[in-house]
Amino acid sequence: MMKRFSMGLAWCAALMLIAGGWLVPSPAAAVKEVKIGVIYPLTGGAAAAGRELRAGAELAAQIANEVMDGIDMDMAKKAGIQSLGGAKIKLIFKDHEGNPTLGADLAKKLILDDKVDGILGCYHSSVTKTVSAVCEQYGVPMINGSSTSPALTKRGFKWFWRTTPHDKWFTKDLFELLDGLAAGKVRGVSGVKKDDLQRLAAACERTEWGAHVADLIKTLAEQYGYDLKKSILYAAKSADLSSEVRSLKAARPDVMLFASYTSDAILMVKTLKAQKAKPKLIWGQDAGFEKPEFRQTLGDNIVGILTRTVFLPKVADIKPVAGQVNQLYKAKTGHDLGGASARAFTGVQTWVYALEKAGSVDHAAIQKACNTIEIPGEQLVVPWAGIKFASTGDETGQNVLGSGLIGQYQKGKDGKIGLEIVYPFDLATADMIYPFPGW
């Protein structure tokens, strides 16, 4: 009896060893490198954005790790992090599929299994929300480059920093542009009355990000004295948006505003065309509206559409360093830098500065460095005054030196469609097309 029992026990132990064996993570290699966990949407509806984000982040890491001639950036002149003895940046990519729950699991995995020194991500504000909560719980620094829901920096987190300006600023830019149109400040446009642009209609995707944008549009429309006739939320995964577009059209808006991810932005514009909607202005809140896929799929149909962004290839005309990085990026991917890739690039760059300043991978040291960091604007590819985080107040962790752009799709002399800057007014690179020319 005893023998059988012990045999049974031995079997069980053996079974568990086998089952447990594949669960054990492989030990980390003992090279001098700094591991940053990067969580992006590499599959799913925002996979197109994920590809761009990944390419942007990888390029920044490459520039930081190697000495690169011809790029006027501090991090291109040295190989690795100098204060850490030339340690290299290693990015560990994870795919969150746009799913907040999966994002939180991946963050835990990166922190506890892969023992990363920090986190970068996550594009979707909803995922950034759960991931940053995990980082806060474990006291691991997280830098966010491209999630723009204002609520993210309103939580008083001690381990979360955001480089990009958020939607409140961007949406304000839009209303400044509308006011500017009426005031005759826009290059190439005159004789527009405020009454011509009075009626607004908005459609935003209904997760964390879009729902916030919808709220902002409503508040700011009141503040600036516009009449928001219709505001709807829709599911970004919808296979059909015709009833949404019908209801927008029924409001007879002068200006149509959208907050959409990639596949839904394309579907939205196709449906607008199919139903012959003809507002005077169409404005997209970045994301889907500035992806290469948007341009490729819709072609000539998007001439005249506006999108807010933080980066346009035209920025290279103003900032030489942006042009240099853009060239490298284009050689690698075949596309120009966009809002997503430029901000992912800037996110990794901020990590490099933070680590350089901290001189250690100790979390507390990185926290201190982030709170006091100052990156001058001339180092960045994005047209900001720089990067400096608020360390107190109701926007803790927010970069206070960022700013946005509004671009308009126009057909260039070479017949290619590209974005021209129309706002801020003093940076305008072309005359604005007004009103929207139609389909």
Partner: protein, 334 residues
Amino acid sequence: MEVVRNAFDFSDFPKTDLLVVGCGLLFLLFFPLLPHSTFAMATMIQFLMFSLYGMGWNTIGGYGGQVDLGKAQYVGIGAYTTAVMLIRWDVPFWVSMPAGVMFSVTWSFIIGYPLFRLTGHYFAIATIATSLVLKDVFEVWDFVGAARGLEILATKYDAVDFTHLIFENDNYYYYILLAFFLLGILIINWFRHSRLGYQLRCIKDNELIAQSLGIDVHKSKVKTYALATAFVSVVGSFHACYIKNIEPEDTMSLDLSILIALMAMLGGAGSLWGPIIGAGILIPLKSYLKEWLGASAGLVGIDLILYALIIMVVSAVEPRGVWGLIEKIRARRT
């Protein structure tokens, strides 16, 4: 007394089955003590959660043959009840969880009563519709955070807080969920032997015969639907405390409803172990395929293709799922 006896009565299973189950349970019990990665832990918790979802679905979907594709609405009700009560009034989990079950079951009666007048595909479509309508309501309801959802800030609580079910270490979550899991098995085992269970199997085979035998078909279905709902709602409440962030898109989506049904069907609907086998295969498969072949290997998307292929192959070879396959092999040997 008979209820308890039924719950612990596994005598109709062959000895080999029970041995495998015993080993499985031992493994589950000692898993946190074995060397493991956090990712493996998260996968195991997911496995236990989906096993419980599947067990609940199995009562009405498996034993009763009523394909329900709207279980996510009850995940949502459970999760939102716990989250709202915790955030707004600091109510302990052990109070809000039963409250969530109460709300869910009430809602299940309200929609179950008219819905079970429908049969077959019409029933399945109606469950999808009610679930989506409820999701839409939650997406515009400001009291529960609308589309933005609710966030439980873990930093406000102790590292180990049993009353609110907030832990820094996942081992605690694991063991609490494991307790629910074992309890779930016992309840389903009771259900199998119960009058209701037999009635439901009869309804699945032939509704008219069931009626002629004096079974109140409609009432039995509604009752079982409520039981299924209770299972899902409890895990929903747990989900809120474990993930600490809930939003309609995440907790009430159609994807989740389908996944719940898929796990149970793939494992073997209408059997005690089916949903557990389904979750035990699909959850690790999904996680680890992604981990090995996904982003890190630079083959984005390949994992999803393989995952879908495996599901298609299993359902083509044996529509009764993995459990059906096991039974087929057994029948051939005897």
